[in-house]
């Protein structure tokens, strides 16, 4: 679970590490895979000549050609649908959905088709695609540039859901996703594209510079799917988080002087249940943190699993800190966002039991 675990691939392939922000790390993963596998193909709105609205595909069309990296019509069901057909042919498509908030027109193709192709054809056809999409809030994105719809996908059998929290993981996980023969939803927390966000919105933004987890090898390496990463180690409680909320949780613990086992889940399906059980059995307390709305969010699944599997080790009820059950607001963003105050209060409550 080390964050710089390159044991899966020879160090020589991984190459020299250098500083990258998350955008550069994602770009590097795509570049590596385009060069490595002639069946990898990138498609999405504005990803070609322009290089993507977040620059994640910058320079890739020029380098790899426009039959490998190209712009699409504005049609999410079309983007996912043609990617399914490309997979049936034998390609390994990496479609981009510009914002997770706009993935819904593609849901029928994802849920009814990509997720079930292997099952319904008894393995004759597969959908080895990775749908990349920026997600999450904290950027004044309002209702349709801030959502965290991961629970919609974790509920679908046949889909894997992956969310990185650091540049190192973003590249290593994305390479694993592209090589994986199952369809993967790869959500990129856009709030931390340029630097880790600790939830203290009134303080100056930080960059990834100087951080170990932003030292990214130039070449090919993988971070395995289904394995959590231990961010900090502590005995007081376990915090389960992913994406931006890993950094917010870490900052809150630091500010409060709380020693927590913070697990960055990295993959929601399949989940690293062993790491979760081992940690909660040791700490006896568990807090779940996500930006997504509360009701039927992924936190409910985590809470149920922890309660079912670690019940006799628990010394306090499992708590969830989440977004409120409202559409993501614009002006009241920091009242909505599950930031330091809400997390701090939940930690106090758990530790008081």
């Amino acid at each position: 679970m080390s964050q710089t675990d390159t044991t899966l691939s020879p160090a020589a392939e991984a190459g020299e590490a250098r500083h990258m922000n998350m955008i550069e790390a994602i770009n590097s993963a795509l570049d590596v895979m385009l060069a490595r596998d002639p069946d990898v193909i990138l498609l999405g709105e504005d990803i070609g000549y322009f290089g993507g609205v977040f620059r994640c595909t910058a320079g890739l069309q020029e380098k790899h050609g426009k039959t490998r990296v190209f712009d699409t019509p504005i049609s999410e069901c079309g983007i996912i649908g043609v990617a399914v057909g490309m997979g049936a042919y034998g390609l390994r498509p990496v479609p981009e959905i510009q914002f997770a908030d706009y993935i819904y027109p593609g849901l029928d193709q994802l849920i009814s088709e990509a997720a079930r192709l292997r099952y319904r054809s008894a393995g004759e056809f597969i959908a080895p695609m990775t749908v990349r999409s920026p997600f999450g809030g904290g950027i004044f994105g309002g209702q349709t540039h801030s959502q965290s719809p991961e629970a919609i996908f974790t509920h679908v059998s046949g889909l894997k859901t992956v969310i990185p929290a650091t540049p190192y993981d973003a590249k290593g996980l994305l390479i694993s996703c592209i090589e994986d023969n199952d369809p993967v939803i790869f959500f990129e927390p856009k709030r931390i594209y340029n630097g880790p966000f600790d939830g203290f919105y009134d303080k100056p933004a930080k960059s990834w510079k100087g951080r170990d987890d932003a030292q990214v090898p130039d070449g090919y390496y993988k971070v395995p799917l289904g394995k959590a990463r231990k961010v900090t180690e502590g005995d007081q409680l376990t915090i389960l988080a992913y994406g931006t909320m890993v950094h917010v949780s870490e900052a809150v613990c630091r500010e409060k002087g709380v020693e927590a086992d913070i697990l960055d889940l990295r993959t929601l399906v399949p989940l690293d249940i062993e790491a979760i059980e081992a940690s909660v059995e040791r700490t006896g307390r568990c807090l779940i943190v996500h930006e997504a709305t509360r009701t039927s969010g992924f936190g409910a699944e985590l809470s149920a699993l922890v309660t079912e599997r670690c019940f006799y080790h628990l010394e306090a009820p499992v708590e969830r800190v989440t977004g409120f059950d409202t559409p993501y607001p614009h002006s009241l963003e920091w009242a909505y966002f599950p930031g330091p105050v809400r997390i701090g209060e939940a930690i106090d409550k758990i530790l008081a039991e």
Binding site: T67, I80, Y89
Partner: protein
């Protein structure tokens, strides 16, 4: 919002909502004389790589080859040899025999569900003959003729319909949702029209690799109302994808007549023109016209001429499925009055007119095919019928969700096997 009062909108005329209504309901006398069926042989045949817009006249006309004289007419005559014609006739007749027997098997409780394609056999069988064997077929659920035309084993088909232990889809899929990668026949989905963008994606992939394979997809006229139809047409035209869209306009989408997919205002073929795609409208009960149109579109796609939409104008002669009773919404006379006849009879009569076939041969072939299907059924029943225990082992339910079994599915698989011992203590321990 309801109109608040008389004074709302002042003296502007009242708007009226149009809700389409089919011409004939149960009990009505049917008259199809206003369908304006054109004479065979009159339709021009443009070059395969013409501009899409040049096909517009063919989108409003009806490409026909076989006349009432049972002879082939005009430039669309594909001039097929007698062996090919006899093979197409045999396969269409096999599809019909198969449908008849499987329909009865459902009524006898041997399976849960079946869908016939009676009257539409040419739109799958003859179209498939116009494709190369490795061109990828993205079918809907009424193209069993494509599989038959590619030589798929009726025993395998019945195993799938019975969900028995011989079913290579392991009993996971509803009957008739076939799949055969070996025969380039894509896995059928219950979700309508999803196969259209997928076919385009396959065609784009083939083109991006410099391959020579094309994709052909089928969809009912009712499903052209789905958003996937629009995205597929848009992607196909944008990337000039080597793909053929076969729209089977059989007039009915369960109980809804084609007017609910927009047929009152324009033909389905005409939609192609707005996208910059070539469009052809063919007599879907004319086996030669279906073959010729599909061949034209395949040649166009294969020479980088781009996509084609073919509207096959036909009639769904039977109910939508074994769960449907068409006498509840349409006149029983429609089937008999349908002016384009029956595709099997038309090809049979053509072969007889050519001196290449006879009524006696037809009769003998029908008996032979009936026996063939009966034997296949008997063979498949050795593997079990639905609900009689001869299914795949419980653990297979959890396989193929992912490439590898994750921990949560392992746990659930163990649970299912535990439950089996309690529910069916006499059963085999698997």
């Amino acid at each position: 919002m309801a109109k608040a009062g008389k004074d709302q909108g002042s003296n502007r005329p009242a708007l009226a909502l149009h809700v389409p209504e089919p011409k004939y309901r149960p009990g009505d006398t049917v008259d199809f004389s206003d369908l304006n069926i054109t004479e065979p042989g009159e339709q021009p045949r443009p070059d395969e790589v013409c501009e899409a817009r040049e096909t517009y006249p063919l989108c409003t006309d009806l490409i026909r080859v076989l006349g009432d004289d049972n002879k082939a007419h005009g430039p669309w005559d594909p001039r097929l040899d007698a062996d090919t014609l006899r093979r197409m006739l045999r396969e269409m007749a096999l599809v019909r025999a198969f449908d008849g027997r499987m329909y009865r098997a459902q009524r006898q409780g041997k399976t849960s569900f079946y869908m016939k394609c009676t009257g539409e056999e040419a739109t799958s069988v003859c179209a498939t003959h116009a494709l190369a064997g490795d061109d990828m077929i993205f079918p809907s659920y009424r193209q069993q003729g494509c599989l038959i035309a590619r030589g798929y084993s009726p025993v395998e088909m019945i195993n799938q319909i019975y969900s028995n232990k011989g079913d290579k889809l392991k009993g996971r899929q509803l009957p008739i949702m076939y799949c055969s990668k070996r025969l380039s026949f894509f896995t059928i989905s219950g979700n309508l029209a999803t196969q259209l963008p997928q076919a385009v994606g396959f065609a784009m992939a083939s083109a991006s690799k410099g391959d020579s394979r094309i994709a052909a997809t089928w969809v009912g006229e009712g499903s052209t109302a789905e958003g996937d139809f629009h995205s597929a047409m848009t992607f196909a035209t944008v990337y000039n994808a080597p793909v053929i869209f076969n729209v089977i306009n059989n007039q009915w989408a369960i109980s809804s007549f084609s007017g609910f997919a927009g047929a009152e205002r324009a033909t389905f073929a005409a939609r192609a023109i707005g996208y910059g795609i070539a469009g052809l409208r063919v007599d879907g009960n004319d086996p030669l016209a279906v073959y010729a149109a599909e061949r034209w579109a395949a040649d166009r796609a294969r020479s980088n001429g781009g996509p084609t939409l073919i509207e096959h104008f036909t009639y769904r002669a039977e109910g939508h499925s074994t769960s449907d009773d068409p006498s509840a919404y349409r006149s029983a006379e429609e089937r008999d009055e349908w002016p384009l006849g029956d595709p099997v009879m038309r090809l049979k009569n053509h072969l007889i007119a050519l001196g290449e076939w006879s009524e006696e041969q037809q009769e003998a072939q029908d008996a032979e095919l009936d026996q063939l299907v009966k034997d296949a059924q008997k063979e498949a029943e050795k593997n079990g019928i639905l609900g009689h225990g001869l299914h795949h082992p419980f653990a297979t339910m959890f396989e193929d969700v992912f490439e590898e079994l994750p921990w949560h599915l392992k746990e659930q698989s163990e649970q299912a096997i535990r439950e089996r011992a309690i529910k069916w203590p006499e059963g085999p321990a698997e």
